[in-house]
Symmetry: C2
Subunit: 410 residues, 2 copies
């Protein structure tokens, strides 16, 4: 069984919005052994939607559409589906009641366009939207299923996870697909490939290996398809173990976690706390950590010391260092780390100072020069790195390497 996604919206095609819905849907479907064959992003245009739907229905059994269900005139998905499937209209009373409650609780007037959200194709099953006004729609088209949901990510996610997915799992039962990811840091992709060449050579045809490099990390993803009654999970895990053993301490996780999640787990396991002094990363590392629910169990706080004045007053960095060695130096970063650990009274601290670019570089310290320090009560490690890439790249790489330095210390 194959699935396709259609995301509708000119904003995707002109790059005004990044399509994050498809990746999330891919993850969810994948967990339930449904393989996405293609993701298709198209315009808010009737002819395009007709043509894409026809293509998808020829190739795949499940088509998931997001976008174009809003109350404004540029949203044409619902009308287009009614026309495509040659259906009539009905008013869904349950949706109408929910809309009335929604507007009442917000003290807002309900306009005619808002009421239209309860007008649905008469051939669809309604998927109630708990967090918004546009319901999802489920169409049974012969043996195939078409699902249409709004494009607003959190509304879509809620509808999909709690309304569509339970029905999907009932409708389609699938041969097991099993993914296992090993996360490595600081080893280039080609070096990794060389190192595990013999393991890759000996993989059976139903187990695939992919390399996903990003910001000084490479994720190695093994994907196995169940053969009859075989135990695909044990088989893939055994290969993962061989790879992890070979790569050694540059393996940071044997599941698909980011560096913030890895460090959070390590700290939480030991009941230790963390504080940060961020300069060039400007809050990005703290943001990555605080995205994790329950972050407060290990994360105490940070000082984002963008100016030298904050580095001095809030972290106690010696001002003479700014003139002698500069703010991007091992001496300053060491004082930042020690200063934030002492002032925030944490078990561990991370400090980062560098030149994220595109301006601010010099002959001696070019853009991408980043100094990272980590410390505990008994140990301090400070290192200088030279990262390549644009501003966000330098920030992202600094973040990963800083968290990895802390991981090694823990």
């Amino acid at each position: 069984m194959q699935a396709e996604i259609i995301t509708i919206g000119d904003e995707l095609l002109i790059g005004q919005v990044v399509d994050t819905n498809s990746a999330w849907l891919g993850q969810m479907l994948n967990k339930h052994n449904i393989r996405i064959r293609r993701i298709n992003s198209i315009s808010d245009n009737k002819e395009e939607i007709f043509s894409q739907l026809t293509d998808c229905l020829q190739r795949s059994e499940l088509i998931i559409i997001t976008g174009g269900l809003g109350p404004t005139r540029d949203d044409i998905t619902k009308n287009t589906l009614v026309e495509y499937f040659k259906m009539g209209w009905r008013v869904d009373e349950k949706v109408m009641e929910q809309l009335q409650a929604f507007y009442k609780s917000r003290g807002r007037t309900m306009f005619e366009v808002n009421k239209m959200q309860a007008h649905l194709p008469d051939g669809c099953i309604t998927l109630i939207n708990e967090w918004g006004t546009a319901p999802g729609m489920w169409f049974n088209i012969g043996e195939k299923v078409v699902i249409s949901m709004p494009g607003v990510p959190y509304e879509m996610k809620n509808i999909f996870e709690f309304k569509a997915l339970p029905l999907l799992v009932k409708t389609f039962s699938q041969p097991r697909l099993y993914h296992k990811t090993i996360v490595t840091i600081n080893v280039p992709e080609s070096l990794l490939a060389k190192n595990i060449e013999d393991i890759e050579d000996s993989l059976p045809v139903y187990i695939k290996l992919a390399y996903l490099p990003n910001w000084n990390m490479v994720r190695l993803r093994l994907t196995g398809t169940q053969q009859g009654d075989s135990d695909i999970i044990s088989e893939v895990n055994a290969i993962a173990d061989r790879i992890a053993e070979r790569v050694g301490e540059d393996v940071v996780a044997k599941e698909d976690l980011n560096m913030a999640e890895i460090v959070f787990k390590a700290l939480k396991g030991k009941n230790k706390t963390l504080g940060l002094a961020e300069s060039c990363t400007g809050g990005y590392i703290s943001h990555q950590i605080t995205l994790i629910p329950g972050a407060s169990k290990v994360f105490v706080g940070s000082v984002i010391s963008y100016s030298n004045s904050v580095k001095h007053h809030q972290l106690g960095v010696d001002t003479t260092l700014f003139e002698t060695v500069g703010a991007v130096s091992e001496q300053v970063v060491e004082q930042m780390a020690l200063g934030v650990r002492q002032r925030l009274q944490t078990d561990y601290a991370i400090a980062v100072s560098g030149i994220a670019g595109p301006e601010g570089g010099s002959e001696e310290k070019p853009v991408g020069t980043v100094v990272i320090g980590v410390c505990s009560a008994t140990e301090t490690v400070v290192k200088t790195y030279h990262f390549i890439g644009d501003r966000m790249n330098v920030i992202g790489r600094s973040s990963n390497m800083a968290l990895d330095m802390l991981r090694r210390m823990i």
Copy 2:
């Protein structure tokens, strides 16, 4: 003339990686009046690539492919293109020299797989990769153009902007497409639509209006297509002015900027500085500001006061308040704002404390309760909000509303 994007990689289909390349390419092409018709994400699979290429070449004149050019075995794009276009191979000496220099400068051994990056289809123009080892390739197929680039975002961007785009602009000349975006905050989409209904009714057929809601903001995008010698820019701008006038002070920008960029511009224009005290937003607002090159001109620093201890010791919040009114209260947030402004010696300050969820809510203060304060030397404003959505949503909405409160104060 129409263009399509093909992004290749199973990681996109199973949601392990979000496709940000397509949005960036959409923006770049759009600036040069080239319209993307579809974005197609497919598997690392020869048959899928063949079938997608055939479809795209039937529909469109320009096809841009990203992904699958790495040195590892799961990268099959180059071999597949050679087979599809029935080409031979050549060694590109310039690329080989560049590779040798790349590995030498990093002190790394160059393996056979790395050398293979200089083996290119004999019918392609090489697009040198300044930031990596996989060059881009430009194929002239009759009147059509196919461009293949690596999937690593900063490598792709560099190749596209500096190598492919200049050639593209020479190859295709286009009727002018003009976009104008107006950014609004805190007005629901349907209310906005009602408010400007008559303006929308009177739009000519060659000017389209789209609504893009996200995190308490709606971007209104007008798109005009040039008719003969008409002055499409003036015409679209005049409509944008009418809309902006109607919506009034909820318009935060008349160009496509995010809230951090809007506040940065306002502060820079007045030569004023900013400091933040972030609790539930955990560094996200600071990160958004420091993503802007030159942020240090206005941004001094932040205290991320996740724990109450940091709120007290680093910001001077009265500890008795934590017991009487709690950390998520207007009293605490006011003290956070005043405290960070005084300690970081800035002209303005923002403070945020709230419950991002999914845990930590109560009857009285449910998940999504966020208190935001902004202050200057002479004025302090503190407000309590109730946001809906998941953790990142609450963080994103808090960030936008906090920056908007500051905008109104400036």
